[in-house]
């Protein structure tokens, strides 16, 4: 008997395909699918998160605080402004920030169960943010650049509006469902997760930007209520523009940024003021003379 191996014809066990065309077809299809799933997960998670009672937020933050203290770790919810010291020795900066908070909270007319707990952080970070349980953080790195009290009021009102509109719970709810969904859908594989993170950033930016816009609108109304005009409120966004220009934030970072572009925000403020008949001019209230000394 004669045995032989004939050389196999090419193209039977492999497909003749263009890798680049395959890449484009698969990438676009997957991007569409993942963005659609991401939007659905984010939307449903945000909706569920927003339904969480504020008391539940307080319970979560108190519990985290207690666990951190028991573990002798530094709790993010510890050391709020105006607490932990006797009233005679309260820091003048904290006194001032608390009095501004009282004014802004009153102007925002936050619903009953919602309380704001302000934290001042002596870090040179250009940031301020609100999180669960009404905890709001202001950093020295941002406060030291503020040009006047109106901009500070706008900043505080913006962050407190996030709390009032339950944005932290919605945002965290959306984040949790996105993370859970991506784990279920894709497992822990590195490739898909990198791809999914790009797709989910595209899917979630819109929600975050709409939250920022809502917070801006409520904040501007509060500033108008406190000062009788909205002059100085846009100084906050002009400050952001200046800092961004200094740091040369590139196009992609701007695109993926959760905050609307500063120029758009200034324009929207002007439109909102005009639509409501609010005065765009008026006396700017300076910050206390010792404000920078207090910060330092």
């Amino acid at each position: 008997m004669h045995y032989e191996n004939r050389n196999p014809p090419e193209g039977i066990n492999t497909s003749d395909h263009s890798p680049v065309r395959e890449f484009l077809r698969l990438s676009l299809s997957a991007l569409v699918v993942l963005i659609a799933v991401g939007i659905f997960l984010n939307f449903s998670g945000s909706l569920l998160g927003g339904l969480l009672p504020f008391k539940a937020e307080l319970w979560i933050t108190e519990r985290v605080d207690r666990i951190m203290q028991q573990a002798e770790q530094e709790s993010p919810f510890a050391d709020p402004v105006g607490q932990g010291s006797d009233s005679a020795s309260v820091d003048p900066l904290e006194q001032y920030l608390q009095s501004m908070t009282d004014k802004v909270v009153a102007a925002l007319e936050l619903p009953e169960p919602i309380v704001i707990t302000l934290h001042y952080r002596d870090d040179d970070v250009f940031n301020a943010y609100a999180t669960l349980g009404g905890h709001v953080y202001l950093f020295k790195g941002l406060l030291k650049h503020l040009p006047n009290e109106n901009a500070l009021a706008m900043l505080m009102a913006h962050e407190y509006s996030h709390v009032g509109q339950r944005h932290p719970a919605s945002s965290i709810g959306g984040g949790i469902t996105m993370a859970a969904g991506s784990s279920l859908l894709l497992g822990a594989a590195a490739f898909e997760n990198r791809f999914f993170s790009i797709a989910s950033a595209l899917a979630s930016t819109r929600f975050s930007r709409s939250m920022e816009t809502d917070a801006d609108e409520a904040a501007l109304a509060a500033v108008n209520s406190i000062y009788g005009h909205v002059n100085g409120a846009d100084d906050l966004f002009e400050l952001f523009t200046g800092i961004r220009d200094d740091n040369q934030l590139d196009f992609l970072d701007s695109f993926f940024s959760t905050h609307p572009l500063d120029d758009n925000r200034i324009q929207r403020i002007e439109e909102q003021a005009a639509a409501n008949g609010w005065l765009a001019t008026g006396a700017i209230t300076p910050l206390p003379a010792q404000f920078l000394q207090w910060l330092n």
Partner: protein, 146 residues
């Protein structure tokens, strides 16, 4: 974000460029050696010829072939959308053919005239980028001189 996107694109480009070049080079080598070794038959049959006495040896050909970042990324997209993983077909094809060639080289060194009962085993090894090991093994028949 920009850094992530750029590093992702660079990894894809490197994977595509080097992966395609390496695959073409490997196929050229495979085809050349297949022609050289065409005279030695490697058969799946379990029934060797009975025309004469043969000494029998186990011969193996083993190869580990790595995919590239581009191919693995394409495969991960197919995992989401379903369909044929075309990017891995050539990887497995190369692995099987290379393993068989190595088996034949080992058989020739033992003056075998044929290899019977040839089988393949394939396993995935390594971590992030798909890497496969293909083992071809069979029984080499070496005619007894008596």
């Amino acid at each position: 974000m920009t850094f992530n996107l750029i590093s992702f694109a660079v990894l894809l480009l490197i994977g595509f460029g080097f992966g395609q070049a390496s695959e073409r080079r490997h196929y050229r080598s495979i085809k050349k050696r297949e022609e050289q070794l065409a005279g030695l038959a490697a058969i799946a049959s379990k029934h060797p010829p009975v025309d004469r006495q043969y000494q029998q040896y186990l011969v193996c050909g083993n190869v580990v072939v790595a995919s590239d970042y581009f191919k693995s990324f394409l495969a991960s997209l197919v995992n989401i959308l379903g369909g044929r993983v075309k990017s891995f077909e050539s990887l497995l094809d190369r692995g099987r053919r290379e393993a068989l060639l190595r088996l034949k080289e080992q058989a020739l060194q033992q003056q075998a005239t044929a290899v019977f009962n040839v089988k393949y085993e394939t396993v995935r090894v390594g971590g992030r980028v798909t890497t496969i090991e293909v083992l071809a093994y069979g029984t080499a028949l070496v005619p007894q001189s008596n």
